[in-house]
Symmetry: C2
Subunit: 188 residues, 2 copies
């Protein structure tokens, strides 16, 4: 499991075994059951979670009580509420497990200490934030494009292996279309 995190970080920066052990000493481990929440709207959310195994959804509940799914997260991806994490505000997102999920996590405070002591980790986290920013930008372009077919194709591109693991009603919610429209799109 440690190797999964090491390999992930080494896609951006090189680390000796000793350096990785130092990095790893700033992380903790936590497991969640299907349906449990990793982050709940209204609570503080100081941690950034690296998913070792499992599947989660990140969502927001609109004024009218309707759930809007922002993104899904699976093996070797990170999940957090970026606003709550970086500004120490209360979470505006919910992150809930769709499968039993195992994570390593790092608190904002530990991340700051780690980057001060091993400056190349700043580069890793900076690159990671850039990628997350790009995902959010793609999500915005999806949301404001009124073409459901494009949104469906973008979903398949972003999550090629998840189509079987995510309930159809959640894919429809992510795309902002009805269950019937999704059925039409997936048979097109």
């Amino acid at each position: 499991m440690k190797q999964q995190l090491k390999q992930h970080i080494e896609k951006t920066i090189a680390l000796s075994d000793r350096e990785f052990d130092f990095v790893f000493s700033h992380f903790d481990q936590k497991s969640f059951l299907k349906h449990q929440f990793i982050i709940q709207e209204g609570n503080y959310a100081h941690n950034d979670y690296f998913i070792l195994k499992g599947l989660v959804k990140s969502s927001h509940i609109g004024e009218e009580g309707k759930e809007h799914i922002l993104q899904f997260g699976t093996e070797s991806s990170w999940v957090s509420d970026p606003q709550a994490y970086h500004t120490h505000a209360k979470a505006t997102l919910n992150i809930q497990c769709l499968e039993d999920t195992q994570t390593y996590f790092i608190s904002f405070q530990e991340k700051e200490k780690l980057c001060a002591d091993l400056t190349k980790m700043e580069k890793f986290f900076s690159k990671k934030t850039s990628l997350e920013q790009i995902t959010l930008q793609r999500r915005i372009l999806c949301l404001i494009s009124n073409n459901a077919q494009n949104r469906y194709e973008d979903f398949l591109r972003q999550y090629p292996n998840l189509i079987q693991r995510i309930p159809k009603t959640m894919i429809a919610s992510y795309l902002g279309v009805s269950r019937e429209t999704l059925s039409r799109l997936s048979h097109a």
Copy 2:
């Protein structure tokens, strides 16, 4: 003008005059007239622009030819197409000037060189990316919240001094409401 950039960077990290001169040597200057484009969809967009003076809008043209405004940028804010900048892909956004606009800009390549030579600038850009990520997240929550009143109040919070400088039709486009609905909101 150099002082404006120095003060901006010094909100995140301390820089000696000599260090700032080194930072500044990685920037270029460019001015744009009202209506001109800083970034156009479909072109490469290697630069990140720091606005010294002026006002711009960042937008995407949907399939149906309708313009969707993502955000506005003004004095001491940064504008770019994050996806195009970080991945060297073609721009999916347009950034157009609503007023005559003066900028300093840094290319992705120069930014990488700068961060390698002066590692504390990595921390500055990392923090900047986090803030941009938060802005995108707020924008997503705005887009998926169906409450126009909330979106209008959020606009006022984010751009307290811009209400007089931005045409009402563009504010309506940003909020995703009609000109008539905006008029009702702004008189509520």
